[in-house]
């Protein structure tokens, strides 16, 4: 690009002019750094549906984007253009992807960064570098400065999701974690092969990066606790950097017969501790429960299914107790988590998140649901009554004045989930009138506790009578 052209046209902006705030002003067409580009305007929109009357600024910027992308230009000015467009329309996925391609191109061809048409986006930075590789300081600095910019954009656009894919693509440029399934599954690991280790420097650098990601994620999630894209990124990050983020990272099945239990210490692991805190703040945050399951159990199931060639159907892992067979079920952890969840359920018995989690833990550990009979019965009315209102009027006598008055007390059914679980538990001991009692649970759900799902409870009765439920 040439800056000398400025003298020939009197109307050009000074070279250091920044994109204007005004929606009508011209910029690229009168900026000295852009005079060699022939913009590609939008095709005539008359007669098209839902045509947007773009502002002059947006239209102009888009015309220059089309021109640059058509040439696959990799340059600093392309980066500046993407930043400008993102500020006008952060939901523009094309701009984000072009930005990432440009960054990768620039970082590969470092040294040529200020020239216009440097390289075609072909030879990019290898996404997963070798773990024995030296730390590439320039790459680390580049990623760090892009993340810093991205943090600010993220706080301004909490609902945007292109941001999270961009962050994912950036973090994926960092060196691989040898414990990551993506590095260990490419070839089957021979039994003799020892686990590769990260160098001390690399371990330190990655550890610092992970800590700052955890801090950033905590901040973002405090503003929007259930943001799906933030949580998805967090789960991806755990899979990508298991050494730092998973309390029991996967190990090649052939090298260890079984791992020691993490039960004594797992609650102090940073990622588990972060989730403990979030569940403490809002025990109904299902995204937090979901992340907890993934951290403690889910990643083992996925790793087991995905490390086979061809991969298994995921449900087989639990249905066929494959983790048990492989010595990969941490029984003390299962019991610790059952106890933890029971405590959470007692605080709020109508919370679907904690019950769903408990069911997941039982299935993973192949623990029989019948072992929780007494626990579930805690949430019924007096003498196991399935129909008593949650709050009932009780006549109480004042200890001092001996005056009688009625008071509402929570003596009735406190959890429809407990009633549902009991229908399954009773249904399994068919011998002592269990099926009748199970049917009564389902009837109570359909008629009193969860009437809108009557059709479902009736279907469950059908299944029960056909002996279909496990």
């Amino acid at each position: 690009m040439s800056t000398t052209a400025a003298s020939s046209t009197a109307t050009l902006l000074p070279p250091d002019a920044k994109p204007p705030k005004s929606k009508t002003a011209s910029y690229y067409s009168i900026h000295p750094h852009w005079q060699d580009v022939v913009p590609i305007p939008q095709a005539d929109q008359t007669g098209t549906l839902a045509a947007i009357a773009y502002s002059a600024r947006y239209s102009e910027a888009m015309s220059y984007l089309r021109a640059l992308m058509a040439e696959k230009e990799v340059s600093e000015r392309a980066l500046a253009l993407t930043e400008d467009l993102i500020s006008m329309n952060p939901a523009h996925y094309t701009v984000w992807i072009y930005r990432m391609r440009t960054l990768r191109g620039l970082w590969t061809a470092s040294g040529n960064v200020s020239n216009a048409k440097v390289v075609e986006v072909q030879d990019e930075v290898t996404p997963t570098g070798d773990w024995t590789e030296e730390v590439d300081e320039t790459l680390w600095d580049n990623i760090a400065s892009e993340l810093k910019w991205l943090d600010e954009v993220s706080f301004r656009n909490l609902k945007n999701y292109q941001i999270w894919h961009h962050r994912h693509a950036l973090a994926d440029l960092l060196p691989a974690d040898p414990a990551s399934p993506t590095t260990s599954t490419s070839t089957s690991t021979p039994a003799s092969e020892t686990k590769p280790q990260l160098s001390t420097t690399l371990h330190q650098r990655l550890s610092t990066f992970i800590t700052s990601e955890q801090t950033f994620l905590a901040q973002i999630l405090s503003l929007d606790t259930k943001n799906y894209h933030v949580w998805s990124y967090r789960q991806w990050l755990c899979t990508r950097f298991p050494t730092f983020l998973l309390p029991s990272p996967p190990t090649p099945t052939s090298t260890l017969p079984s791992q020691p239990s993490i039960a004594p210490t797992y609650r102090t692991h940073t990622e588990v501790h972060a989730i403990d805190t979030m569940i403490h703040d809002d025990l109904r945050n299902n995204s937090a429960w979901s992340h907890r399951y993934f951290l403690l159990f889910g990643h083992h199931e996925l790793h087991h299914a995905q490390s086979r060639t061809p991969p298994l159907i995921l449900k087989q892992v639990n249905d066929e107790r494959l983790l048990h067979a492989a010595g990969r079920v941490d029984t003390p952890l299962i019991h610790a988590e059952i106890a933890y969840t029971q405590t959470e359920i007692r605080k709020a018995p109508q919370n679907g998140s904690s019950w769903n989690y408990l069911r997941g833990v039982l299935r993973h550990g192949a623990v029989a649901i019948t072992t929780l009979r007494a626990f579930c019965e805690e949430f019924l009315g007096p003498d196991g009554d399935l129909w008593t209102d949650q709050w009932i009027d009780v006549e109480v006598e004042d200890a001092h004045t001996a005056e009688k008055r009625t008071e509402k007390q929570e003596l009735g059914v406190r959890s429809s989930h407990a009633v549902e679980w009991l229908s399954e538990i009773y249904g399994q001991d068919g011998a002592d009138g269990g099926v009748d009692r199970a049917r009564e649970c389902l009837t109570a759900l359909g008629e009193k506790w969860d009437v809108i799902r009557k059709g479902y409870w009736e279907w469950r009765v059908e299944k029960l009578e056909a002996g279909g439920t496990k």
Partner: protein, 371 residues
């Protein structure tokens, strides 16, 4: 006889749809506060027939609010006209906007055929020579936009409209999106999720593209030869411990992704075979059924999230597929119309929510009364 008696049946609404839930925890948290707020804003609307200031002519014989058909049609037609500059946030999703508008007109019984020529003019500039459609002119091809274009084209019909789509280029582009784990990316260098897989299979089947992978598909390097290779296993890995399906393996169960996965499996083969084979149907049903709340009546997209009108489509769309799994074919192998069987979800609750809480004052549907 009291003269008001004859109006009695007019007012009957099932009590669970106009009352607070039978069980409510005493411990409060931000989720339960938002849930209580949502119920509080829905209740007066669900029970509007019994509000003396309501106009009785706004309701049908079941005490349900009428569908404001004319307002909705006007709202959609206005949205297809030129849009002001503040709609720039929609610039990358114009096909999506048009698809939903056309579908709504179609469902409301409007004739969309007269839009044929404007559809051609609108979609032609969005197509890329390397295959697929972008959100706008010069945007990268994206599976969501391409899906929307293909369905919109199918709805208006006509050979000239069909000819807009370059099937050969599209097939090659899809080949570049197929991943070695069986799934699909939504665009080149874009994210991989269940949505991508569903949109890709819709494109392949509706356009009658070959199932085998083009020779330039990178997935061939991992031994794949067919678009369906590894797909069932990939989708299976997105089912969570809750029973619903997530965007990607390890994420949280979510209504929209559950629809995409079930619909994708139903294209892969008959639902009673594919869904049963790859998913735990029992836990799927448990989760799916728990998405409907009372008194609101509508669906929520995830556990402990509040009701939201868009899940009338995503969760609502799951039910016919799940019913097809449960009903299966008859003993002669013919498929049975599941609507002849008892419904597992409450159609009445859903209808009352959509009509009572989601209709905007000047046409269009909203997520919830406070939006």
């Amino acid at each position: 006889m009291d003269s008001t008696d004859e109006f009695e049946p007019f007012m009957t609404i099932p009590p669970h749809l106009v009352r607070w839930p039978a069980i409510r925890d005493t411990l409060s948290s931000s989720t339960s506060q938002l849930q209580a707020q949502t119920i509080a804003e829905c209740l007066p609307l669900l029970n509007a027939i019994n509000n003396p200031s309501s106009n009785p002519f706004d309701f049908d014989e079941h005490g349900q609010h009428n569908l404001n058909r004319a307002d909705h049609i006007k709202f959609i037609r206005d949205g297809l006209q030129a849009l002001p500059a503040q709609f720039v946030a929609m610039d990358a999703s114009r096909p999506w906007l048009m698809y939903w508008s056309l579908l709504s007109l179609y469902v409301l019984g409007e004739d969309v055929k007269p839009l044929q020529s404007s559809i051609i003019k609108t979609f032609e500039p969005l197509q890329n020579k390397s295959g697929g459609f972008g959100g706008g002119q010069g945007h990268l091809s994206h599976l969501a936009g391409t899906y929307a274009v293909i369905l919109a084209v199918s709805m208006v019909g006509g050979q000239d409209v069909y000819n807009v789509i370059d099937r050969v280029a599209l097939w090659h582009w899809l080949g570049r999106l197929k991943q070695s784990n069986g799934g699909f990316c939504v665009c080149e260098d874009g994210e991989e999720d269940v949505r991508g897989a569903y949109c890709a299979l819709v494109a392949i089947t509706l356009l009658d593209l070959p199932w085998h992978l083009p020779s330039d598909s990178a997935a061939r390097a991992s031994g794949m030869t067919d678009f369906r290779d590894g797909l069932g296993e990939y989708l299976s890995s997105c089912q969570t411990y809750e029973g619903g399906i997530a965007a990607s393996p390890s994420n949280e169960a979510h209504g929209a992704y559950t629809f995409c996965a079930l619909a994708c499996l139903s294209i892969l083969g008959p639902p009673h075979e594919t869904i049963k084979r790859y998913l735990n149907v029992e836990s799927l049903l448990q989760w799916l059924s728990a998405r409907q709340y009372a008194p609101e009546g509508g669906f929520a997209g995830r556990t402990n999230k509040v009701v939201d009108g868009c899940y009338s489509h995503w969760i609502g769309g799951c039910w016919p597929l799940v019913e097809a799994v449960l009903t299966g074919p008859d003993h002669e192998g013919e498929s049975v119309d599941p609507s002849t069987k008892a419904r597992i979800f409450s159609g009445e609750g859903l209808v009352r929510y959509i009509l009572g809480c989601c209709q905007g004052p000047s046409g269009g549907l909203r997520d919830k009364p406070s939006k």
